[in-house]
Symmetry: D2
Subunit: 390 residues, 4 copies
């Protein structure tokens, strides 16, 4: 069993005890009236969290990659052209995935640590006849945040479907799917949504559903075919369940609890909290003399931070020291620089105290790794930032 | 929250408190040493439960349908011929699924309630050049059990890959994957494996992996591509984790607990328990004057029972009465006869007491629905059957 | 961890998952607003369950014996005369306890298996100047039930304070403390109240509180002194907590859940359920040829049954066989006949199914112990009794 | 349900998830073999934690006050003289309690914030014929720590039984009961022992048991009479359970888990951790310009800290701000200065991160209450202190 070490990786995160209690409850039938209500209500709440009042939510047993799969498989037909804006590993994954379903993919990579340059996107759109364009709201491998508003706007302008990989952003970064005109926003449960891993979540716009319904060929993957899931999602939402595959009852009960908490906190307050804590944490990291993978804090994620190790600090050793000090962090993931940086998740129910705890443990880890700095400089900078009027 | 009503549907079932406690524990990192050990050990234990010492297990976030998808997508290339032996709804689903991946499917349906006639299978195999053949060990929609031994034998004889849908059988019915020469056996967690829904489980034989590796075309579905999962499964088994998608940590912790319990009980004893309780339950059903969907008790499943309502009994009303008496049963699923029968799951950690409880509640439901029988006849027959020396 | 064996002893019993979940939640402060509400509400609900709208509830960390201690220590002053009506071991315990606080105790024992003969009580009251009289509503050691109505009536008639030991009765047997004029009714959490052991619960009438307040000498025991607890109980009920000792937060949270469920079921329905299931269980025991410790079923408890072993059956062996069959029963407790009988608790959230399960396991145990009977006779009799219109 | 706010009061504390999981498990029988082992082993481990290899542990359902009651009631006979060394509210409580059992009590109070002056104790012992002497290891109301070594030494020198109230110290402060010659050390579960409230724990020396056995009069309180509990404790330790009152099964299961963790950490390391974290926390408090109730940090507790509010800061308002910042602290308890100070518990499984979190929230609370200080000064001082080589 996990002890009281603090899990500060970019997913899975520390979950609310109430969510954990819900998933550990005795499993009920998937057609039990109380479960039907829980499932139906979760579908409704997802619309609110995504800010997509006319969108169609899907809740599937699977990982975040399955959510990407669902977007790609349902919207791509062999030969379709797709433009993938890449700010890290997960952009590249989307390119590979879309190719699998027959897409002719143009990968538009941005330099490591930089965000999307929409001027270049516009050029690409102007030059090609794309059906679909994807971007990664926050790339978990780099901590780079992309502004999704131009994505939607350009998509509408050029008649291109837009898919936003929100695995590391939904419920932690500002998102207004419908207002911004984005066709699919997908995520996984174990990130800012706050539910143990095992659920793939996505919302499709009316335009996306129409595109799906106008397909000429069957969906490439059987499991994620929206045609099988639409009656299920609509059925549970109408509180008249239908059967395609047994839903992951316990995880959905946990999802219900977590969505209720998100709504109770209020989306604006929740996003502001993420922003405030991220800014404080970055202040602490800077005060310790560490730089970060994102080239500008203006496009650094609010859900995770990706600091580079200072000279002379070994990642494996450092992460071990931090762990001994009670906090679990993640190493680098992007192959080009994997050994040069580490990653801290700070999303979901994360608190001021956890930010302090984490920067304190980072100080301890750096000190034990031989890095020189003024003891307490990191925690002081965090506390100062938290003291600022917002 | 589920109250103390007994859940006796063919999945999800009543889970062990120890399994539920494990999935409700605070989530740990997917690269935490303790979790690596849990995941690695689960992979090893799956081999034992499937009796496939040289098989390759896969543990994926998803439903049982995803396990079918994984088998089909990885083994079928467009144009391959497939023979689907159907004893209910899930045979038909397999046919549809394989077609999706480009298979040329021959559906060999057996009359409702009857098991596979291997004479007809042999004829079919002799007449066609099949790459793959599937059967449903226990069809959840009919309660019909198929003997998997000839499936493997004929597969080897005719050089055809064999896939056994064991969703409603693995860990409840006798299974010797390697000895019987079956190439893929798949299941879902929420059945006799005894873990809340959300895990797709399968074991591929060396021959199946070789067939996969010899593919000329990429796998149709991105998410289930064994090429992505093999390094993960092999990595965790070697206790050196690799990353493709975040594993469903909590469910895998529950799986570890349940597999340990299955091994501790002993496979032979476990199968014998399922057989003994199923026989007793069928005796009770017969004593109340009800017939069953399987045409012969010799091929009735040991994991579920599918009795037909007696004349004049309405299913909706009856199931409500049974529920009021404290037991939750499932209605019919097979479209041809959905309103004519009901289904009782009795698998996993099911006990003698739960069998008695269930038949008692069935008596109550029948009585309140106006069916005439000797009160106590059902429970007496069950108890007599349980008293028989085994 | 307890496996899925059914715990059918006269406390602790099988608790509702929702109660267990509540006690396993992270502990909150004893002055947290939510806990104050939970505690205050529990005090209010206890009054409803005891049917004592003007009574003063006490909720203390301790066992049922502590609840007896609280009644005795607060109401007895050295030299007071006390009359103890004894129908088993727990009557004797009350005599010993009252003596400890200086009472001059007259023990009025009734023959083993018989209930209180109020004619003899009246004689005793007429002949002595008693301050206090106690009775055991259901004696857990014999399964004998006492009618508490004459207890209250005679107490009022003779100006004697009355204490009812309801450890094995409250929330399982009919109880109307105020209407019946009983001064203290006490119990423990782990019986029909449905909460794991660790809480002593009692309600004192206005008359009892007045007697306490009129004491000339301090209370003999420091911990149970109502003088320390009254401000606490009144404070939490007014939602203004006071401090004497840290309350057992987790157990009180569980108590809140269980009391809510009791009220939701309805006291009348709950008592009727206990009566109906007890009658059915006794029918099963009789059908197997076993007699019971209570000499007449009219005064047999509805919360437990105390059958005698048939000739030739060894208790240790029998209880082991029953356990192997999945049900845990208790051996005899009364020293005179401890090896001659066993005890089955059936209270709290007990269901029809558990009654059937238990009688089925008793059959199995008897059969394996060599007792001869018609297989299924017990379960049949139970089912028949359950089929009777109530 | 408690949310993720951090509970930093001097009991109940934040408990390990593993402990909470254990108490939320389905309750087993108190004579179940697995529970017998758990209970027996807990008794053995208590001896280790108390460092009293020949002591007799008692585990009772009740609060810490009940543990005091057990010590007082079993060792005092009417007329015995008792010397109570008081360093706060709980010394006064012990005086009141001992009087209840007939003791002739001399209360030796030390000035608020000061520790025991053993010169005065020696004088008192020399002048009177005492049977019993008590001290409070850490008084929860003042945060004053007393050195228990002279207590034991003087007790032996003057032939006086010694009782140490270790409610706020056992498993958090250095304790060597047998080496130091202390006759009874008592505590409650919800403090540094790390188990939700509801268990009273104490260990009696051979000398204490002999004194008990030599009593001329029966023990004043029935429930805590060691005569009833000795066969139970010895029975469970010998793995042959006996019955007096139903043990609080779930809490004892939690106790077993927590004691195992304490032993696994190692007593020396655990005490050193408490000392190190307390020192760091006090450094943070000082850096913010706050003084403390203990007059000298040499006798300040390592399990809690009791800072005084700076001028102009209102306690109610401050504690509300701290709570809003995610940490729950306790107000003052000692009646003379209740509104002038607050209390922070830091014991049990407390971590560096929680110390930082708490001081950070204290900064936030002070700032919002109008106190002027250098932002970050508190967290910086804590981090510096944590950075010091130990």
């Amino acid at each position: 069993m996990k002890d009281r070490k603090l899990l500060m990786i970019p997913g899975p995160i520390e979950f609310e005890p109430e969510v954990l209690a819900a998933i550990g409850e005795p499993t009920t039938s998937h057609v039990d009236p109380e479960f039907i209500e829980t499932f139906g209500r979760a579908i409704e709440l997802i619309r609110k969290v995504w800010m997509a009042p006319n969108g169609q939510p899907f809740i599937l047993a699977g990982s975040g990659t399955l959510a990407m799969d669902a977007a790609g498989a349902n919207l791509i037909e062999p030969g379709d052209r797709a433009l993938v804006l890449s700010t890290g590993l997960f952009g590249e994954r989307f390119a590979e995935l879309l190719s699998r379903y027959g897409a002719d993919v143009t990968l538009l990579p941005f330099p490591l640590g930089e965000t999307v340059d929409y001027g270049r996107v516009k050029e690409a759109l102007a030059s090609g006849d794309y059906k679909l364009m994807t971007a990664t709201h926050v790339d978990t491998s780099t901590g780079v945040r992309v502004d999704p508003k131009p994505l939607g706007r350009l998509g509408r302008e050029y008649g291109v479907l837009t898919v936003l990989d929100g695995v590391c952003s939904v419920a932690g970064e500002e998102l207004r799917q419908e207002e911004w005109g984005i066709d699919v926003v997908l995520t996984a449960s174990q990130k800012a949504i706050g539910v143990p891993p095992g659920l793939a979540l996505l919302v499709a716009s009316e335009r996306a559903i129409a595109a799906f319904e106008g397909r000429k060929q069957p969906v490439g993957s059987y499991y994620v075919d929206w045609g099988s899931w639409l009656p299920i999602m609509r059925g549970y939402e109408a509180r008249h369940p239908a059967y395609f595959a047994t839903p992951p009852v316990n995880l959905i009960c946990g999802l219900g609890v977590s969505l209720n908490r998100i709504i109770a906190e209020g989306l604006d307050r929740r996003i502001a909290r993420h922003r405030r804590l991220a800014r404080a944490f970055r202040a602490g990291i800077s005060a310790l003399g560490l730089s970060q993978v994102p080239t500008d804090s203006a496009h650094a994620a609010n859900t995770l931070t990706a600091p580079r190790y200072p000279d002379g600090v070994s990642g494996v050793e450092f992460l071990g020291h931090v762990r001994d000090a009670g906090v679990i962090l993640a190493g680098g993931l992007h192959p080009e620089i994997a050994s040069e940086y580490f990653r801290i998740g700070h999303m979901g129910a994360v608190t001021e105290g956890e930010i302090l705890t984490t920067i304190g443990a980072v100080e301890t880890g750096l000190r034990r790794s031989g890095h020189r700095f003024v003891p307490g400089a990191g925690v002081k900078a965090v506390q100062e930032a938290l003291s600022d009027p917002d």
